[in-house]
């Protein structure tokens, strides 16, 4: 029904733009990862695998990557633990107030990321809200130091930021479950627990996978929360990349790490898609 000219007119401009501003930058990043920096701080366009060798050789990169993954894994687990029951409550028990509650979950998403991280900083600091409250009610004598500038603070903040992100796809999946399946299960004598584990949960797996992917990938690449709240023990892989592009001035090595992260992210998305097809029933 649409002419060739119409199709060209809607296809060509986006194709050109995406090629110029998405594809080219990623390819450029890939190229950079094979280059190097000379002693005079000039980028040398000499192709080698040295940057990748360096990544395999130096332990701090591995340690930081694993620490980032461990932080991201904890964020994912906590976001699911908070997000899933909330989504379940909204989808099955909120009744007429469902829309209102839904909006209430979405609203924190619109408070700037930076502002929420900053709010946690003011809560967790040694003269912050929490510590002064604990002393005010005489639960503690001295401020608790482990609250801020620790991996704990990063995990807490990122969990706060990504819980609505995990909630959304889970809620979408729960909303798609035909209610007569649940009623049939009740009518046939299943307990609420059996109904949940045999009917509801398996059907919500695609949402859980999408939510987990969101939380894991986005928190894995975070660099602002660690800078603001992490302290020396909370440095994540993106912080290393940022310093390589900044003061340390080694763009090629930074590009190599970024490219590895890109690969990791894309493979996680594919894995999650694959599992969704395998376990999902849709």
């Amino acid at each position: 029904m649409f002419s060739r000219a119409y199709k060209t007119a809607v296809t060509l401009p986006p194709l050109v733009w995406v090629a110029a501003f998405l594809l080219t930058p990623y390819l450029l990043m890939f190229c950079y990862s094979f280059w190097s920096v000379s002693a005079a701080q000039i980028i040398v366009h000499h192709w080698s695998l040295d940057n990748y060798r360096e990544l395999l050789r130096v332990r701090v990169y591995w340690q930081t990557l694993f620490r980032s993954m461990w932080i991201a894994a904890r964020v994912t687990i906590f976001s699911l633990l908070l997000g899933y029951p909330l989504a379940y409550f909204l989808s099955f028990h909120a009744g007429k107030r469902k829309d209102l509650f839904y909006q209430l979950v979405i609203i924190p998403l619109w408070v700037s990321y930076l502002v929420r991280a900053y709010a946690w900083k003011t809560i967790l600091g040694s003269d912050g809200v929490l510590n002064t409250l604990l002393q005010y009610v005489h639960l503690t004598e001295h401020p608790l130091q482990f609250l801020l500038y620790s991996p704990f603070a990063v995990v807490l903040t990122l969990t706060h930021i990504y819980t609505p992100f995990t909630f959304l796809p889970i809620y979408a999946a729960l909303e798609h479950i035909p209610r007569n399946l649940v009623e049939a299960s009740h009518d046939l004598g299943a307990t609420p627990g059996q109904t949940f584990w045999k009917i509801v949960f398996p059907l919500s797996i695609p949402g859980v996978l999408a939510g987990a992917t969101f939380a894991f990938v986005l928190s894995l690449g975070d660099f602002l929360a660690p800078l603001l709240l992490g302290g020396p023990g909370g440095i994540m892989i993106s912080n290393i990349v940022v310093s390589l592009f900044g003061a340390a001035y080694n763009w090629p090595l930074g590009a190599a790490i970024s490219f590895c992260m890109l690969l990791l992210v894309v493979s996680l998305i594919f894995l999650s898609e694959h599992l969704e097809r395998k376990w999902g029933f849709s």
């Binding site: 029904m1 649409f2 002419s3 000219a5 296809t11 401009p13 986006p14 194709l15 733009w17 501003f21 998405l22 450029l28 990043m29 909330l86 379940y88 409550f89 028990h93 909006q103 209430l104 609203i107 924190p108 619109w110 408070v111 700037s112 990321y113 502002v115 900053y118 709010a119 900083k121 003011t122 809560i123 600091g125 003269d127 912050g128 809200v129 002064t132 005010y136 819980t163 959304l168 796809p169 979408a172 009623e183 009740h186 009518d187 609420p192 999408a210 990938v217 690449g221 975070d222 660099f223 603001l228 993106s238 592009f245 930074g254 590009a255 992260m261 992210v265 998305i269 999650s272 898609e273």
Partner: protein
């Protein structure tokens, strides 16, 4: 439905008490920082300290006479507006292309468009930094606009694509059959039907761009956007002035969401942001 079934159905809808308590606790967790943020914007004694003391609007007064903050707000508004124009100009045709055209590399194209939604900002930001560096483009607000505009095409495309799925093709067919050309059909039939999706996308893009920091972080030139101005101040030490400006932005975002929500609900749309969630779930597919 017999009496028995409806009776059981009602019973099933009553939440167990622990679930209700749990949901309340999660809401409390989600809102605690926001409450603290707003409360301490009124605290005369600075950020932190319990209980808050000497409630005052002084920080708002300080804020209103703070030149650099308002410069950065103006920059952010300009960036958000320009990014919105770019994302829509590219994102609307992209949605039409995905809906209606077949071309080589379509699957790759779709994935590339959606990727910035889920990719950590550090990768999007740095890859663009390398591009601008290679092209010898000086970093400025313009480079931030290009970054936001490109990353947020994903939002425009998913929203409009969802709108197109609901669009009745027969209307466009009728328009073409009755002698309107493609241009007329596009502006008089297709676009009016997509109006809601486009307004929704525009509001979302605007808000997301206003708040964006990870990509801007790498593409910033001499002029700051508001989040970067705040970031700079956070590193120097914190005052309730930041709480005050954050509270104001929060209120504006809230208004934007309420406007969008009412628009959608009036037109029987799905819940806010659902298309994007489902699209992201399908990036790898």
């Amino acid at each position: 439905m017999g009496l028995l079934v409806s009776g059981k159905g009602r019973e099933a809808r009553k939440a167990p008490r622990w679930l209700l308590a749990y949901a309340v606790a999660v809401f409390a967790f989600l809102y605690l920082p926001i409450a603290v943020l707003i409360l301490y914007s009124l605290n005369g004694e600075g950020v932190g300290g319990f209980p808050p003391r000497h409630l005052t609007f002084d920080w708002y007064r300080v804020l209103f006479s703070d030149g650099p903050i308002w410069d950065s707000v103006l920059n952010s508004l300009q960036v958000a507006f320009a990014a919105m124009v770019i994302s829509l100009t590219i994102g609307v045709p992209a949605a039409l292309a995905l809906d209606r055209a077949q071309f080589p590399g379509k699957a790759l194209f779709r994935r590339l468009v959606l990727l910035p939604l889920i990719l950590p900002g550090v990768i999007t930001g740095l890859s663009l930094l390398m591009l601008f560096n290679a092209a010898a483009v000086k970093l400025s607000l313009l480079t931030i606009v290009l970054g936001h505009g490109t990353a947020l095409i994903s939002v425009a495309t998913t929203e409009v694509f969802a709108g197109l799925q609901k669009l009745d093709r027969a209307q466009e067919e009728a328009s073409l059959d009755l002698g309107a050309n493609y241009r007329q059909t596009f502006w008089r039939v297709t676009m009016p039907n997509l109006k809601l999706s486009i307004i929704g996308a525009a509001l979302l893009i605007f808000t997301l761009s206003m708040d964006e920091i990870a990509v801007s972080f790498f593409l910033i030139g001499r002029d700051n956007t508001l989040p970067l101005e705040i970031w700079g101040r956070l590193r120097r030490g914190i005052t309730p002035e930041i709480n005050a400006v954050s509270t104001i932005i929060f209120v504006f975002s809230l208004v934007a969401i309420v406007v969008w929500y009412r628009l959608r609900m009036r037109h029987g749309g799905t819940e806010a942001g659902m298309e994007i969630v489902e699209a992201v779930g399908g990036i790898g597919a």
